[in-house]
């Protein structure tokens, strides 16, 4: 539990005092707190006089109603969340969204179009973020070149996308609030659970049963890894996420051949499609996103997120961030409110446990005092069992009959320390450090994207 007066407490106390003053002036005399006065209509969080209402454009994976509600309950601000799919968020931002919204969220593939290539977002000073401190944020972000040294040149883009000032590291260009490691999902009823590489997607054993992603900037990476590990392409680890035109040709020709041979049950372009394919058992293996795995389980179909091998067929790392837009709708005051939602809600004790229901880790997981064992104004931390399961690769305290149907959302997590059960469920992919070690790629929008898209039509039309 954090104590003393930090910025979050100060905001709450100051707004409380202001509200009390206003109440006194009006003769109301009610003993209300800012949280009590919040406007909870629609999908907004709360807000009282003096606070700002910010508008937040984001894909659903980045911004959910509960995040907005928490924001309203711990500050005197409120937020209106607009959820669109990834490409629509990008589309809106590239066509004037920076003037209509105060905050935007996106990943490292499509986000840099407006954070790096275009000047539509404003950096956030780390000095304004209580939660961004050495030892409290993952080395993935504080020191990616060292923590992901096996990715070699790929880490340059991490620095470029993360920092406004990569040398000084005082201003964050894309402040992370969630991140993940994409891999392969499989139905253990039909697929060997020891599968640990993208090569399984092209294995004859699963012919006609594969759900293959048709998201060119992502799907190309996994094929690159497979081809490289089999000596079928000339590529180096440092540029595995940024293929040359020749490499794109090789990848697309390979995929066209696979598609024509009937390897894929179908291709998917949205998470919903991949969920449908796997939950209906039309496909039994595919390159899935983590929330899709849980969604398949929630439909009653077993699904395992494979532990990927070390090397070039490992996980694909990405992160999602919250960025203040430039100019936004209300200048510095609203930018301060956006900074507040990043820090007060998303670097809080509550958020890591909330978002882990969809499988996403948060950058502040090393802050065990807060995230594992602590609590703050926003809510309680994860507790020992949930944290150790999510980040340490330890089994649950209770036995779990059907581990491939395990759902962290419905499991009753212990608040007190306990012992992992031999028959408990261990999180797919293992502990967080193991996942980081097995990362092969950092997801980006490649330099030869125009060429990639022109060639990708061949795959789509095959």
């Amino acid at each position: 539990m954090t104590s003393g007066i930090n910025r979050r407490n100060f905001v709450k106390f100051a707004s409380g005092a202001a509200a009390a003053g206003l109440a006194g002036c009006s003769g109301d005399g009610s003993d209300s707190t800012p949280a009590d006065q919040t406007d909870t209509s629609g999908d907004t969080g709360g807000g009282s006089s003096g606070g700002q209402t910010i508008s937040w454009l984001a894909p659903a994976w980045a911004a959910r109603k509960q995040q907005g509600t928490k924001f309203g309950s711990v500050t005197n601000h409120s937020v209106e969340i607009t959820n669109n799919n990834n490409s629509t968020v990008q589309q809106k931002m590239m066509s004037g969204g920076n003037e209509n919204f105060d905050a935007v969220s996106h990943d490292t593939v499509l986000g840099p179009a407006f954070t790096t290539d275009n000047d539509y977002t404003a950096p956030v000073a780390t000095s304004d973020l209580d939660g961004w401190q050495d030892g409290k944020i993952s080395d993935l972000f504080l020191n990616p070149a060292e923590r992901l040294s096996h990715l070699k040149g790929q880490t340059d883009k991490i620095q470029k996308f993360l920092w406004e000032d990569p040398q000084k590291k005082q201003k964050l260009k894309q402040p992370p609030h969630v991140f993940n490691f994409n891999g392969v999902g499989l139905n253990p009823k039909f697929v060997d659970t020891s599968v640990g590489s993208y090569g399984a997607l092209f294995d004859d054993k699963y012919k006609g049963k594969v759900a293959m992603g048709s998201v060119p900037s992502i799907s190309t990476n996994e094929v690159m890894g497979y081809l490289k590990s089999n000596g079928m392409i000339d590529a180096s680890i440092g540029q595995l996420n940024n293929p040359t035109k020749d490499q794109i040709d090789t990848v697309v020709n390979f995929l066209v051949k696979q598609k024509k041979s009937g390897q894929f049950r179908s291709t998917w372009t949205s998470a919903g499609q991949s969920i449908n394919l796997m939950s209906s058992e039309e496909a039994i293996i595919g390159d899935l996103w983590q929330p899709a795995v849980f969604a398949v389980r929630r439909s009653g179909t077993p699904c395992k997120y494979a532990t990927m091998s070390k090397g070039v067929q490992g996980y694909q790392f990405w992160w999602g961030g919250i960025m203040p837009t430039k100019p936004g709708t209300g200048g510095e005051k609203k930018k301060d409110a956006v900074t507040s939602i990043i820090d007060d809600v998303h670097y809080s004790a509550w958020f890591p446990g909330f978002i882990q229901q969809w499988g996403y880790p948060t950058p502040n997981y090393p802050n065990k005092e807060l995230v594992r064992d602590g609590s703050d104004d926003v809510g309680d931390g994860m507790g020992p069992e949930y944290y150790d399961w999510a980040y340490e690769g330890k089994k649950t305290y209770q036995a779990v009959d059907k581990p491939q149907l395990f759902d962290p959302k419905t499991y009753d997590w212990a608040d007190e320390e306990g012992s992992p059960n031999a028959d408990g469920q261990k999180r797919d992919q293992g502990g967080i450090e193991e996942r980081i070690d097995r990362t092969a790629l950092f997801q980006i929008w490649p330099d030869n994207a125009d060429y990639l898209l022109s060639q990708w039509k061949k795959f789509r039309s095959a």
């Binding site: 589309q91 291709t267 209906s280 058992e281 994207a449 898209l453 022109s454 789509r460 039309s461």
Partner: protein
């Protein structure tokens, strides 16, 4: 009783009549012309203009280029997708005609007029829900664990689920048929409703058998309905996005290619070029159809 003044007024009105008529025509057509100009011609002109603009990684650069036409529309990949799309449109139209014509025929000649209209309305009921739901609804029916496969397995007719029921040309045709058969059946029904039954009696009197009566009397008179229905089905099916996106095994049609251009990279110029090309192809085919059949017959 008219007065002198009234007479003069009448003369003045008569003098003015031609100019009043002209303004009436303008007033009557004006809103339509304005509407189509503002919401059809101008947007199309913008789309056409965009097809000649340069694309540069998520951005549209206002520099003239033919790249979107030479590099995208006239590429061998796109041409093959166009051919596939038109083929799909043709097959779907034919299929809808084969299913829709007998349906319309039955409703016209074997039910009451009110019953026929009521039955057609029932065909519209699925459209009360979204196209996406109508399409996704085939998953639990045609899927590996769907009703059809379970029934086939239960009866022992097959020993493993039929995979070609879903994510295949079959599932696409089923999806198109479900969506568009009513667009074929309704105009044919209306066309057949105009058929004077005395003509059928006359054909019978002249010793025409039912097949000859159909070929020589009913079919020619129903052609305007067939033409309108074909136009609807063909145009709608080749522009459909949901069926190929969700019921195919991942094969593109022109509409999914347009989606790919927008969804990955925001390549509006290439998407605009594809859209205009698709529009031109559709327009040409509809024009050819209208040169063959006079659809105004349906109103007579």
């Amino acid at each position: 009783m008219s007065t002198k003044n009234d007479d003069h007024a009448g003369v003045r009105d008569a003098d003015r009549w031609p100019s009043i008529g002209l303004s009436e025509v303008q007033l009557l057509t004006g809103p339509t012309v304005l509407w189509f100009t503002a919401f059809l011609l101008v947007p199309l002109a913008v789309v056409l203009a965009y097809s000649f603009l340069t694309y540069d990684s998520f951005s549209v650069v206002f520099e003239f280029t033919l790249e979107n036409w030479t590099g995208t529309v006239f590429s061998s990949t796109t041409i093959s997708v166009f051919v596939r799309t038109l083929l799909v449109g043709g097959i779907v139209t034919l299929l809808c005609l084969v299913v829709g014509y007998p349906l319309a025929y039955y409703l016209r000649f074997y039910t009451t007029e009110r019953g026929g209209i009521l039955a057609l309305l029932f065909l519209v009921i699925p459209f009360w829900t979204s196209a996406l739901i109508r399409t996704q609804a085939w998953f639990p029916i045609l899927g590996q664990t769907g009703v059809v496969n379970k029934l086939l397995l239960w009866t022992g007719l097959v020993h493993e689920p039929l995979s070609w029921l879903m994510f295949s040309p079959f599932s696409q045709l089923v999806g198109y048929l479900q969506n568009y058969v009513v667009f074929m059946a309704a105009p044919i029904f209306i066309s057949l409703s105009q058929v004077d039954e005395d003509l059928l009696d006359a054909s019978e009197t002249l010793r025409g058998n039912p097949a000859e009566t159909f070929v020589n009397v009913v079919w020619p008179l129903s052609k305007p309905g067939v033409a309108i229905g074909s136009m609807f089905v063909f145009v709608l099916s080749i522009g459909n996005f949901i069926v190929p996106q969700f019921l195919s095994g991942g094969e593109s049609t022109v509409s999914t290619l347009i989606y790919l251009q927008i969804n990955n990279g925001l390549n509006y110029p290439a998407a605009a070029a594809l859209s205009i090309a698709l529009l031109a192809v559709i327009f040409s085919l509809v024009f050819l159809l209208l040169r063959t059949v006079d659809i105004t017959d349906i109103a007579q």
